[in-house]
Every structure is written in structure tokens, then in C-alpha cells.
């Protein structure tokens, strides 16, 4: 059992050398990733150039939600984002090769890409969050410090579960294409902004039905000491990250059923 991580390390090394052998492409890839990370935040800044407030929140307040989302999404993407490729593997039947190896399916898929560029995104997300927390004028208490850690862990788990659950769709729906993006990248977009700007059934489905409202919005309200314009009590903010445990359990179940359901392409 002592050498269990070794095959995984070999996979990772193989990937790294394969990608780094195309040096110019790799360099552009790294550079663009840094820019891409900043774009989400830049978009928010551009919007606040035009307006003074979004849904009654100032830039400093909104940045707490932006920072929580940016870090949680980037860290989840770093750990499990590669699972998006499962649709490619199912589509081409290459998942067979993954299944016959005496290794876990999930870890193998996750090691099909090297994590340096995604690590850079997480670092940037953490920086944005730190700046946002420092400049939002938060009245720090022990409970709030704990909430930051809880919210980050919950957010990472939440987005990670969304990645796994949406990727599993490919087992049933071979050409699922972009449908997962609606919930992964769409979910990130949703949690970046205060949820009171959305309305009607759309907000109910995304914020409460799927639980995206509990990733950044409610924890941010509790950190900022603001009451919810939508009327939920204050303690919800402190409990919100717990929702991700439920989501993770559902995602794990869907993934297991999906892998069992997999049939090769038959070609």
C-alpha cells in the first residue's frame, strides 16, 4: 500500500511533459489563464463604473461575494474541474481505457491535466477575497472569522459537487455538450452578484432549489452584518455553507450510478 500514489504521479508527470513539449502554446496558455482569471473581477469593476450600486450593495460589499465566489470556484476547478472532460471520454469510448486500469476513475480523470494554471487562478481568487474582506469594513468577531473559513470550505465543496454532478450527465446523455456549463460557469455568474437582483422563479430555482444562494450571498450578508432584503433571518448566513454537504452527497450518488450506467461506444 506504500506506493499507492505512484501510478498517479506517473500519470501527472506524463501529462506535464506532454503539454510542456509544445512550449509556445504552453506559455500563451499560462499567460491567458492569468488574464482570464482577472476578467471576471474586471467585469464587475466595469459594471460598477456605470452604476453606484447593484441591488443596493456598494462595490466594496459586492466584492465580498465576488471574492468568495472567485476563490471557491477556482479551488474547486483546480481539484475536480477536469471532470468536464468525461463527456469527451464517454463520447469517444476512451473511458474504457480508464476503467480497465486498477486505479480510481475520478482521480485518473482529474490527473489528465496539470494544475499549475488553475492554481494561479486560486491564488488570484484568494487575493481578491483578502482585499475585499479588508476593505469592506467588516466588524470582526470570532464567529465571523470562523464563518470565512466555513464559507470557503463550503463553497469549494459546493462547486466541486456541481462539476461532478453535471459531468455525470454525459453517462446518460452522450452529446450533453455545453449543458453542464449552465450550472458550473452559470452558477459562478449567479453567485458573483447579490441574488436580490434576480427575480421570480429564476431566483427561486437557482438560489434555493439548487442552493447557489448559500454559496456567497448569505455568508456575505452575515459577514457584512446586513439584513437580507429577501427576508431570511440572520442565522442563515452562518448555517448556509452546510448546504454544500447535502449537494456533495447527491453529486457522489449521481456519479456512482453514472459510472455503473456507462456502456462503451460499441465500436
Amino acid at each position: 500500500m506504500a506506493d499507492r500514489p505512484r501510478p498517479y504521479l506517473a500519470l501527472l508527470r506524463g501529462q506535464a511533459s506532454a503539454q510542456a513539449s509544445y512550449r509556445i502554446s504552453f506559455a500563451i496558455d499560462l499567460g491567458t489563464n492569468v488574464v482570464a482569471t482577472m476578467l471576471d473581477v474586471l467585469t464587475v469593476l466595469v459594471l460598477f463604473r456605470v452604476t453606484k450600486a447593484l441591488g443596493g450593495f456598494t462595490l466594496r460589499e459586492a466584492m465580498v461575494m465576488v471574492g468568495l465566489t472567485a476563490f471557491a470556484f477556482a479551488a474547486a476547478d483546480l481539484m475536480v474541474g477536469n471532470i468536464e472532460r468525461v463527456k469527451l471520454y464517454v463520447n469517444t469510448g476512451r473511458l474504457d481505457a480508464v476503467l480497465v486500469r486498477p486505479l480510481g476513475v475520478l482521480p485518473q480523470l482529474l490527473l489528465m491535466d496539470i494544475p499549475i494554471r488553475k492554481a494561479a487562478r486560486s491564488v488570484f481568487g484568494a487575493t481578491v477575497l483578502a482585499v475585499a474582506l479588508a476593505s469592506a469594513g467588516i466588524d470582526w468577531t470570532a464567529a465571523r472569522v470562523g464563518l470565512v473559513a466555513f464559507a470557503l470550505a463550503g463553497g469549494v465543496l459546493f462547486f466541486g459537487s456541481i462539476f461532478v454532478a453535471t459531468a455525470s450527465v454525459a453517462f446518460w446523455w452522450i452529446e450533453s455538450g455545453e449543458i453542464g456549463n449552465a450550472f458550473t460557469y452559470g452558477g459562478r455568474e449567479f453567485t458573483t452578484y447579490p441574488i436580490n437582483i434576480y427575480s421570480g422563479w429564476f431566483r427561486r430555482v437557482f438560489a434555493y432549489g439548487l442552493g447557489f444562494g448559500f454559496v456567497a450571498y448569505y455568508p456575505a450578508l452575515a459577514l457584512l452584518g446586513r439584513t437580507d432584503p429577501l427576508g431570511l433571518p440572520g442565522w442563515v448566513g452562518y448555517a448556509a455553507p452546510g448546504v454544500s454537504i447535502v449537494v456533495a452527497a447527491v453529486a457522489a450518488a449521481v456519479w456512482r450510478v453514472g459510472v455503473r450506467h456507462y456502456r462503451s461506444t460499441g465500436s
Binding site: 502554446s25 466595469v46 456605470v50 450600486a53 441591488g55 455545453e178 449543458i179 437582483i197 434576480y198 429564476f202
Partner: protein, 285 residues
């Protein structure tokens, strides 16, 4: 439509009709090809629609937070039209098109494209127009109808807006095709185009006006972007034409600018293709 590879002599007959028929046949095949990807079409339309809701709410909140109720000179209805038509147009121009050509270059399959008696740029353009027409029916209509159903949208008031939008959208399709062709062609030199492709995905989205209307940016920067890069001409221009953001003369002006970019970049494609074929021979591939 002359041949370009070393194995076939240049075509001698000057009759345009066969060339036109070939073009139409390839366009038809492009349409038919995409009409077989039914699940992916539904999935794509669904995702565009979800993003339509997200972006509309965000931009409406931006407009609600300003003193005048206008954001970047657009009123609430214009913003809704901008977002929903943009979500549809995104698929029509295929801003995030496939890396098919690059994959064919990497694997060497592109050699069979070069043996055909049609110029590769012409052939790929024809197929892409077929794909775009399929997208108009399956990917443009659903988000636009959703927008109409759930939001107060701006409907064009001047008669010439319709035709001008069609021209502008068609130019945007060709322009976006040319850009993707150039990005894919990088594979002749680098083999792997992961980096350039990502740069294109990121750049085209934000500089094209997908994430926010470019009018939100500082005026001088926006004008420079519009004149000096092809990106705004791929989404922002047709959308601004549709929501009648500017006086008629300026709208015609930005469409003319689009036409200029189309000619310039298609010419670039032809030049790059010629150089790439020499490169391919040198590689011995």
C-alpha cells in the same frame, strides 16, 4: 475558384456557375451535418438561455442603480434585447467554434483537404455558412423567443433596421469564421493550439461585447478597440444595429467597418493558407 496545391493544375474554365454550385453543395452539407447533432443543439440552446437570464438580470440591476436609468446609453428594454439577441448570435457566429481544423492539421488529415479541387478557405467558409444557417433556426430563435416571453424587450422601430441587422449578422459570421480559421491555422506552426485557442476564447468574449456592452468602457478605449481590432465587429456591432443605439449614419458606418474587417481577414486567411502549405511540405507531413 482556383486550385492551390501542387498536384492539380489551375482550373482553366472561367465559368462561375459550377463554382457556385460547389459552394452551395458544401453549404448544404454543413447544414445537414449540424442538423444531426440534435442533443448538442438542445444543450447549447438551453445553456445560452440560462446565461440570457443571468446577464439580463445583472444588466437591468446596473441600469436600476444609475441616476438616469440608462446604462451606457441603453435603456432597460434595449439592454434586454442586447442580451437575448446576443445569446442567440453567439451561437450563430460560433464565437466558441470547434478546433476541428487544428485537429486535422495535427493528425495530418488536413492533407486530404488540400487535395480537393476547392480552395480550403472557400471550402471551410461554405461549410461554416451552412452551420450558421442551421444555428439561426435552432440556436438564435429559442433564446430570442424566451427573452420576448419573460422580459420587456426593445423592438426595432425603423424599417431598415431589419435588413441592416441581417447584413451585419452575416458579416459577423464571416468575420468570426476568418478569425477562427487563423487561430486554427496556428497549428501548422505550433501543432498544439491550446494556448492560442484559450487566448481567442477569452479575448473574443470580453472584447466582442458578450460579457458587457462595450459602451460601458471609457469612450476613447472603446473607439480604439472598435477601429483597431475585429472583436467588436463580431457581436457588438450587429447588436447595436438591432437595438438602434446610434443615429442611422453611424450604424451604417460601423457595418461598413465590419465589411472592411471581413475582407481584410479573409485575405489574411488566404495568405496564411499559402504559407502554411509551404510549411507543411517542408515538414514532410
Amino acid at each position: 475558384m482556383g486550385s492551390v496545391n501542387a498536384t492539380t493544375p489551375p482550373s482553366t474554365h472561367r465559368n462561375i456557375v459550377p463554382a457556385f454550385r460547389t459552394f452551395a453543395a458544401i453549404t448544404g452539407s454543413g447544414f445537414r451535418r449540424y442538423s444531426t447533432y440534435r442533443q448538442a443543439t438542445v444543450a447549447g440552446a438551453f445553456t445560452n438561455t440560462v446565461f440570457g437570464f443571468l446577464r439580463t438580470y445583472v444588466l437591468l440591476a446596473v441600469a436600476a442603480g444609475t441616476a438616469t436609468g440608462l446604462a451606457g446609453g441603453y435603456d432597460r428594454e434595449q439592454l434586454a434585447t442586447f442580451v437575448w439577441a446576443g445569446q442567440g448570435l453567439l451561437a450563430v457566429v460560433a464565437l466558441w467554434g470547434s478546433t476541428e481544423l487544428a485537429d486535422r492539421i495535427r493528425t495530418g488529415d488536413v492533407a486530404s483537404d488540400l487535395l480537393r479541387p476547392v480552395h480550403p478557405v472557400t471550402m471551410y467558409l461554405a461549410a461554416d455558412l451552412g452551420r450558421a444557417w442551421h444555428a439561426v433556426l435552432t440556436r438564435f430563435v429559442p433564446p430570442v423567443l424566451t427573452g420576448l416571453l419573460f422580459f420587456d424587450v426593445y423592438l426595432p422601430r425603423q424599417w431598415f433596421t431589419g435588413p441592416l441587422f441581417v447584413v451585419s449578422a452575416a458579416l459577423a459570421v464571416m468575420l468570426c469564421f476568418a478569425c477562427r480559421y487563423l487561430v486554427n491555422s496556428v497549428a501548422y506552426w505550433l501543432t498544439d493550439i491550446r494556448g492560442p485557442m484559450l487566448a481567442w476564447l477569452v479575448g473574443s468574449g470580453v472584447l466582442g461585447g458578450l460579457f458587457f456592452p462595450l459602451r460601458f468602457l471609457p469612450e476613447q478605449f472603446m473607439v480604439a478597440l472598435w477601429v483597431a481590432t475585429p472583436f467588436p465587429s463580431m457581436l457588438q456591432t450587429p447588436l447595436d444595429v438591432l437595438v438602434e443605439r446610434d443615429p442611422p449614419a453611424l450604424r451604417c458606418g460601423i457595418v461598413a467597418l465590419q465589411a472592411m474587417w471581413v475582407m481584410l481577414l479573409l485575405a489574411c486567411c488566404a495568405v496564411v493558407q499559402r504559407r502554411a502549405e509551404r510549411r507543411l511540405v517542408i515538414q514532410g507531413g
